[in-house]
Protein backbone atom coordinates (compact mmCIF):
# COMPACT_ATOMS: atom_id res chain seq x y z
CA UNK A 1 0.00 0.00 0.00
CA UNK A 2 2.30 2.79 -1.21
CA UNK A 3 0.18 5.67 -0.01
CA UNK A 4 1.75 8.68 1.57
CA UNK A 5 0.21 8.07 4.99
CA UNK A 6 1.65 4.56 5.12
CA UNK A 7 5.22 5.82 5.26
CA UNK A 8 4.22 8.41 7.84
CA UNK A 9 2.41 5.78 9.96
CA UNK A 10 5.56 3.63 9.96
CA UNK A 11 7.60 6.61 11.18
CA UNK A 12 5.01 7.43 13.83
CA UNK A 13 4.99 3.85 15.04
CA UNK A 14 8.78 3.72 15.12
CA UNK A 15 8.89 6.94 17.14
CA UNK A 16 6.32 5.50 19.58
CA UNK A 17 8.27 2.25 19.98
CA UNK A 18 11.46 4.19 20.68
CA UNK A 19 9.66 6.12 23.40
CA UNK A 20 8.29 2.93 24.95
CA UNK A 21 11.69 1.22 24.83
CA UNK A 22 13.34 4.27 26.37
CA UNK A 23 10.95 3.92 29.29
CA UNK A 24 11.42 0.27 30.08
CA UNK A 25 9.48 -1.40 27.26
CA UNK A 26 5.98 -2.81 27.09
CA UNK A 27 2.91 -3.14 24.92
CA UNK A 28 1.71 0.06 23.31
CA UNK A 29 -1.91 0.90 24.07
CA UNK A 30 -2.37 4.41 22.81
CA UNK A 31 -0.41 7.09 21.01
CA UNK A 32 -1.35 10.75 20.79
CA UNK A 33 -0.23 12.57 17.69
CA UNK A 34 -0.38 16.26 16.83
CA UNK A 35 -1.14 16.83 13.14
CA UNK A 36 -1.01 20.31 11.66
CA UNK A 37 -3.39 21.17 8.86
CA UNK A 38 -0.47 21.86 6.48
CA UNK A 39 1.43 18.68 7.25
CA UNK A 40 -0.01 17.06 4.09
CA UNK A 41 -1.44 14.25 6.21
CA UNK A 42 -5.07 13.18 6.23
CA UNK A 43 -5.91 12.03 9.77
CA UNK A 44 -8.46 9.44 8.64
CA UNK A 45 -6.04 7.87 6.18
CA UNK A 46 -3.31 8.00 8.78
CA UNK A 47 -5.40 6.08 11.32
CA UNK A 48 -6.24 3.54 8.62
CA UNK A 49 -2.55 3.16 7.74
CA UNK A 50 -1.66 2.94 11.44
CA UNK A 51 -4.02 0.02 11.88
CA UNK A 52 -2.37 -1.73 8.95
CA UNK A 53 1.12 -1.07 10.33
CA UNK A 54 0.43 -2.50 13.79
CA UNK A 55 -1.82 -5.38 12.67
CA UNK A 56 -0.43 -8.79 13.55
CA UNK A 57 2.40 -7.33 15.65
CA UNK A 58 2.91 -7.09 19.39
CA UNK A 59 1.07 -3.76 19.52
CA UNK A 60 -1.96 -4.79 17.45
CA UNK A 61 -5.03 -2.91 18.58
CA UNK A 62 -3.15 0.12 19.92
CA UNK A 63 -5.13 3.28 19.36
CA UNK A 64 -3.89 6.34 17.49
CA UNK A 65 -5.48 9.55 18.69
CA UNK A 66 -4.97 12.51 16.38
CA UNK A 67 -5.08 16.05 17.66
CA UNK A 68 -5.65 18.56 14.86
CA UNK A 69 -3.79 21.88 14.85
CA UNK A 70 -4.81 24.71 12.52
CA UNK A 71 -2.26 27.09 11.00
CA UNK A 72 -2.05 30.74 12.03
CA UNK A 73 -3.49 33.17 9.49
CA UNK A 74 -2.16 36.70 9.36
CA UNK A 75 -3.42 39.55 7.20
CA UNK A 76 -1.04 42.42 6.42
CA UNK A 77 -4.02 44.79 6.63
CA UNK A 78 -6.18 43.38 9.43
CA UNK A 79 -3.73 41.51 11.68
CA UNK A 80 -4.38 38.01 12.89
CA UNK A 81 -7.48 36.46 11.32
CA UNK A 82 -9.23 33.98 13.56
CA UNK A 83 -12.09 33.05 11.27
CA UNK A 84 -11.03 30.10 9.08
CA UNK A 85 -10.60 31.43 5.58
CA UNK A 86 -11.27 29.05 2.70
CA UNK A 87 -8.41 27.16 1.10
CA UNK A 88 -5.38 25.65 2.71
CA UNK A 89 -2.15 27.32 1.67
CA UNK A 90 -3.64 30.00 -0.48
CA UNK A 91 -6.16 31.91 1.61
CA UNK A 92 -7.71 35.30 1.25
CA UNK A 93 -8.65 37.51 4.18
CA UNK A 94 -12.42 37.22 4.75
CA UNK A 95 -12.55 40.95 5.61
CA UNK A 96 -10.39 42.67 3.00
CA UNK A 97 -9.52 39.98 0.43
CA UNK A 98 -5.73 40.30 0.71
CA UNK A 99 -3.73 37.06 0.54
CA UNK A 100 -3.18 35.83 4.10
CA UNK A 101 0.23 34.93 5.41
CA UNK A 102 -0.16 31.41 6.77
CA UNK A 103 2.36 30.09 9.29
CA UNK A 104 2.68 27.01 11.50
CA UNK A 105 0.34 24.09 11.07
CA UNK A 106 3.11 21.80 9.84
CA UNK A 107 3.25 19.81 13.08
CA UNK A 108 3.56 16.04 12.97
CA UNK A 109 4.58 15.30 16.55
CA UNK A 110 4.16 12.27 18.75
CA UNK A 111 2.90 13.88 21.96
CA UNK A 112 2.37 10.95 24.29
CA UNK A 113 2.45 7.17 24.48
CA UNK A 114 0.51 4.97 26.91
CA UNK A 115 1.70 1.42 27.35
CA UNK A 116 1.38 -1.61 29.54
CA UNK A 117 4.80 -1.98 31.12
CA UNK A 118 6.23 -5.41 30.53
CA UNK A 119 7.48 -6.85 33.84
CA UNK A 120 9.84 -9.32 32.22
CA UNK A 121 11.21 -6.61 29.96
CA UNK A 122 10.96 -9.14 27.15
CA UNK A 123 9.43 -7.05 24.41
CA UNK A 124 10.88 -6.95 20.94
CA UNK A 125 12.02 -3.88 19.13
CA UNK A 126 10.03 -2.75 16.08
CA UNK A 127 10.75 -4.99 13.14
CA UNK A 128 9.01 -3.07 10.43
CA UNK A 129 11.02 -0.75 8.27
CA UNK A 130 9.94 1.94 5.86
CA UNK A 131 9.92 0.86 2.27
Amino acid sequence: MPVHEMGIAIEVYRTCREAVEANGGGRLQQARLLVGELSAVEPELLVYAWEAVIAGGPDAGAELEVEWRPAIQHCAGCGEVHERAEGSWLRLCPDCGLPLQVTGGDELDVLQVSFEADESGDVGTPERTAS
Binding site: I8, E11, T15, A19, N23, A40, L108, V110, L111
Partner: protein
Protein backbone atom coordinates in the same frame (compact mmCIF):
# COMPACT_ATOMS: atom_id res chain seq x y z
CA UNK B 1 1.06 -1.57 34.97
CA UNK B 2 -0.06 1.18 32.65
CA UNK B 3 2.41 3.96 32.00
CA UNK B 4 1.92 7.26 30.24
CA UNK B 5 4.97 9.04 28.85
CA UNK B 6 5.09 12.46 27.24
CA UNK B 7 7.22 12.28 24.12
CA UNK B 8 6.94 15.51 22.08
CA UNK B 9 9.09 14.26 19.23
CA UNK B 10 8.52 14.93 15.56
CA UNK B 11 7.42 11.75 13.86
CA UNK B 12 9.85 12.46 11.03
CA UNK B 13 12.70 13.32 13.41
CA UNK B 14 14.69 10.25 12.36
CA UNK B 15 14.57 11.36 8.71
CA UNK B 16 15.38 14.95 9.67
CA UNK B 17 18.45 13.86 11.66
CA UNK B 18 19.71 11.80 8.73
CA UNK B 19 19.07 14.70 6.37
CA UNK B 20 21.06 17.05 8.63
CA UNK B 21 23.95 14.58 8.65
CA UNK B 22 23.86 14.53 4.84
CA UNK B 23 23.73 18.32 4.78
CA UNK B 24 26.85 18.50 6.96
CA UNK B 25 28.61 16.08 4.67
CA UNK B 26 27.70 18.13 1.57
CA UNK B 27 28.88 21.27 3.36
CA UNK B 28 32.27 19.65 3.97
CA UNK B 29 32.71 18.80 0.32
CA UNK B 30 31.21 22.10 -0.90
CA UNK B 31 28.64 20.24 -2.97
CA UNK B 32 25.45 21.97 -4.03
CA UNK B 33 22.51 19.57 -3.69
CA UNK B 34 19.31 20.07 -5.65
CA UNK B 35 16.12 18.08 -5.01
CA UNK B 36 13.94 17.99 -8.15
CA UNK B 37 10.24 17.31 -7.65
CA UNK B 38 7.37 17.13 -10.11
CA UNK B 39 4.63 14.88 -11.36
CA UNK B 40 5.75 12.08 -13.70
CA UNK B 41 6.50 13.30 -17.20
CA UNK B 42 7.18 16.96 -16.47
CA UNK B 43 10.68 16.69 -17.87
CA UNK B 44 12.95 16.31 -14.83
CA UNK B 45 15.32 13.90 -16.55
CA UNK B 46 15.28 15.85 -19.80
CA UNK B 47 16.14 19.04 -17.89
CA UNK B 48 19.01 17.18 -16.21
CA UNK B 49 20.27 15.94 -19.57
CA UNK B 50 20.30 19.50 -20.90
CA UNK B 51 21.92 20.74 -17.67
CA UNK B 52 24.82 18.30 -17.55
CA UNK B 53 25.46 18.93 -21.24
CA UNK B 54 25.57 22.67 -20.62
CA UNK B 55 27.87 22.32 -17.60
CA UNK B 56 30.12 19.72 -19.20
CA UNK B 57 33.79 20.51 -18.66
CA UNK B 58 32.93 23.32 -16.24
CA UNK B 59 31.33 21.74 -13.18
CA UNK B 60 31.36 18.14 -11.99
CA UNK B 61 27.87 16.71 -11.65
CA UNK B 62 26.35 13.48 -10.37
CA UNK B 63 22.74 12.37 -10.32
CA UNK B 64 20.68 10.20 -7.99
CA UNK B 65 17.57 8.99 -9.77
CA UNK B 66 14.52 7.94 -7.79
CA UNK B 67 11.91 5.73 -9.44
CA UNK B 68 9.59 2.91 -8.57
CA UNK B 69 11.06 0.68 -11.27
CA UNK B 70 13.65 0.51 -14.08
CA UNK B 71 17.17 1.90 -14.58
CA UNK B 72 16.03 4.02 -17.50
CA UNK B 73 16.70 7.46 -16.04
CA UNK B 74 20.13 6.60 -14.67
CA UNK B 75 21.01 5.05 -18.05
CA UNK B 76 20.06 8.28 -19.81
CA UNK B 77 22.38 10.31 -17.55
CA UNK B 78 25.23 7.79 -17.74
CA UNK B 79 24.98 7.87 -21.52
CA UNK B 80 26.18 11.47 -21.26
CA UNK B 81 29.27 10.43 -19.30
CA UNK B 82 27.94 11.67 -15.96
CA UNK B 83 27.91 9.39 -12.90
CA UNK B 84 24.39 8.38 -11.92
CA UNK B 85 22.84 5.86 -9.59
CA UNK B 86 19.28 4.59 -9.74
CA UNK B 87 17.42 4.29 -6.43
CA UNK B 88 14.51 1.90 -6.86
CA UNK B 89 11.85 2.43 -4.23
CA UNK B 90 9.88 -0.68 -5.13
CA UNK B 91 6.54 1.06 -4.77
CA UNK B 92 7.24 3.88 -2.34
CA UNK B 93 6.17 7.24 -3.67
CA UNK B 94 9.08 9.39 -2.47
CA UNK B 95 12.76 9.35 -1.54
CA UNK B 96 13.84 9.75 2.07
CA UNK B 97 17.21 10.57 3.60
CA UNK B 98 17.97 6.91 4.27
CA UNK B 99 17.51 6.04 0.58
CA UNK B 100 19.78 8.95 -0.40
CA UNK B 101 22.46 7.73 2.03
CA UNK B 102 22.24 4.25 0.53
CA UNK B 103 22.26 5.63 -3.02
CA UNK B 104 25.41 7.64 -2.34
CA UNK B 105 27.11 4.59 -0.92
CA UNK B 106 26.07 2.37 -3.81
CA UNK B 107 26.88 5.04 -6.41
CA UNK B 108 30.33 5.83 -4.91
CA UNK B 109 30.53 9.03 -6.93
CA UNK B 110 33.70 11.08 -7.16
CA UNK B 111 33.56 14.41 -5.30
CA UNK B 112 31.33 16.66 -7.42
CA UNK B 113 30.27 20.29 -7.53
CA UNK B 114 26.56 19.62 -7.94
CA UNK B 115 24.53 16.59 -6.91
CA UNK B 116 21.08 16.41 -8.45
CA UNK B 117 18.50 14.23 -6.73
CA UNK B 118 15.60 13.46 -9.02
CA UNK B 119 12.73 12.48 -6.75
CA UNK B 120 10.02 9.98 -7.61
CA UNK B 121 7.43 11.62 -9.88
CA UNK B 122 4.82 12.88 -7.43
CA UNK B 123 3.73 16.35 -6.29
CA UNK B 124 2.62 15.32 -2.80
CA UNK B 125 4.74 12.89 -0.81
CA UNK B 126 8.28 14.08 -1.64
CA UNK B 127 7.32 17.48 -0.19
CA UNK B 128 7.46 16.13 3.37
CA UNK B 129 10.90 14.50 3.28
CA UNK B 130 14.10 16.48 3.72
CA UNK B 131 16.96 14.89 1.78
CA UNK B 132 19.72 17.21 2.99
CA UNK B 133 19.36 19.36 -0.13
CA UNK B 134 20.18 23.05 -0.45
CA UNK B 135 16.86 23.70 -2.10
CA UNK B 136 13.92 22.05 -3.77
CA UNK B 137 12.98 22.71 -7.37
CA UNK B 138 9.46 22.01 -8.59
CA UNK B 139 8.79 21.49 -12.30
CA UNK B 140 5.45 22.09 -13.93
CA UNK B 141 5.11 21.40 -17.63
CA UNK B 142 2.67 23.53 -19.55
CA UNK B 143 0.82 20.43 -20.71
CA UNK B 144 -0.23 19.66 -17.13
CA UNK B 145 -2.58 22.61 -16.91
CA UNK B 146 -2.45 26.00 -15.25
CA UNK B 147 -4.25 25.15 -12.02
CA UNK B 148 -1.60 22.89 -10.49
CA UNK B 149 0.05 25.34 -8.08
CA UNK B 150 -3.21 25.97 -6.21
CA UNK B 151 -4.18 22.29 -6.38
CA UNK B 152 -0.83 21.10 -4.97
CA UNK B 153 0.13 24.13 -2.93
CA UNK B 154 2.57 22.57 -0.46
CA UNK B 155 5.32 21.87 -2.95
CA UNK B 156 4.95 25.22 -4.69
CA UNK B 157 5.16 26.98 -1.32
CA UNK B 158 8.26 25.03 -0.28
CA UNK B 159 10.28 24.91 -3.50
CA UNK B 160 12.62 27.87 -3.85
CA UNK B 161 12.60 27.52 -7.61
CA UNK B 162 9.69 26.71 -9.87
CA UNK B 163 10.55 25.66 -13.42
CA UNK B 164 7.77 25.92 -15.96
CA UNK B 165 8.89 23.36 -18.50
CA UNK B 166 8.06 22.40 -22.10
CA UNK B 167 7.40 26.04 -22.99
CA UNK B 168 7.78 25.13 -26.67
CA UNK B 169 4.28 23.61 -26.31
CA UNK B 170 2.71 26.90 -25.20
CA UNK B 171 1.19 27.68 -28.61
CA UNK B 172 -0.54 24.30 -28.59
CA UNK B 173 -2.03 24.03 -25.11
CA UNK B 174 -4.36 26.19 -23.03
CA UNK B 175 -2.02 27.47 -20.32
CA UNK B 176 -2.35 30.90 -18.73
CA UNK B 177 1.24 31.72 -17.87
CA UNK B 178 0.39 34.92 -16.01
CA UNK B 179 -2.15 33.09 -13.85
CA UNK B 180 0.44 30.46 -12.95
CA UNK B 181 3.03 33.09 -12.14
CA UNK B 182 0.53 34.78 -9.85
CA UNK B 183 -0.41 31.53 -8.09
CA UNK B 184 3.22 30.66 -7.47
CA UNK B 185 4.11 34.18 -6.35
CA UNK B 186 1.24 34.14 -3.86
CA UNK B 187 2.22 30.77 -2.45
CA UNK B 188 5.91 31.63 -2.36
CA UNK B 189 6.61 35.37 -2.57
CA UNK B 190 10.39 34.85 -2.34
CA UNK B 191 10.58 32.08 -4.93
CA UNK B 192 12.11 32.22 -8.39
CA UNK B 193 10.23 31.22 -11.53
CA UNK B 194 12.11 30.01 -14.60
CA UNK B 195 10.80 29.06 -18.04
CA UNK B 196 12.50 26.27 -19.92
CA UNK B 197 12.27 24.10 -22.97
CA UNK B 198 14.93 21.45 -22.60
CA UNK B 199 14.38 20.09 -26.12
CA UNK B 200 14.72 23.54 -27.71
CA UNK B 201 17.52 24.55 -25.35
CA UNK B 202 15.57 27.56 -24.08
CA UNK B 203 15.99 28.88 -20.57
CA UNK B 204 18.81 26.46 -19.82
CA UNK B 205 21.36 29.29 -19.62
CA UNK B 206 19.38 31.08 -16.92
CA UNK B 207 18.90 27.84 -14.98
CA UNK B 208 22.62 27.03 -15.15
CA UNK B 209 23.49 30.58 -14.14
CA UNK B 210 21.29 30.19 -11.09
CA UNK B 211 23.03 26.92 -10.21
CA UNK B 212 26.45 28.57 -10.56
CA UNK B 213 25.50 31.48 -8.34
CA UNK B 214 24.02 29.19 -5.67
CA UNK B 215 27.15 27.04 -5.71
CA UNK B 216 29.39 30.11 -5.40
CA UNK B 217 27.24 31.49 -2.58
CA UNK B 218 27.36 28.20 -0.70
CA UNK B 219 31.12 27.95 -0.93
CA UNK B 220 31.61 31.59 0.00
CA UNK B 221 29.36 31.19 3.04
CA UNK B 222 31.52 28.31 4.19
CA UNK B 223 34.73 30.24 3.58
Amino acid sequence: MKQVVNVKRRALAANEERAEALRARFADTGTLVVNLISSPGSGKTTLLEATVRALDGELGCAVLEGDVATERDADRIRALGVPAHQILTGGACHLDARLVEGGLEAGSFPEVDILFIENVGNLICPTTYDLGEDFKVVLLSVAEGDDKPVKYPAIFARAEIAVISKTDLLPHVPFDLDAVREQIATLNPDGTILLTSSLKDQGIDAWCELLRSRLTAKRRAQG
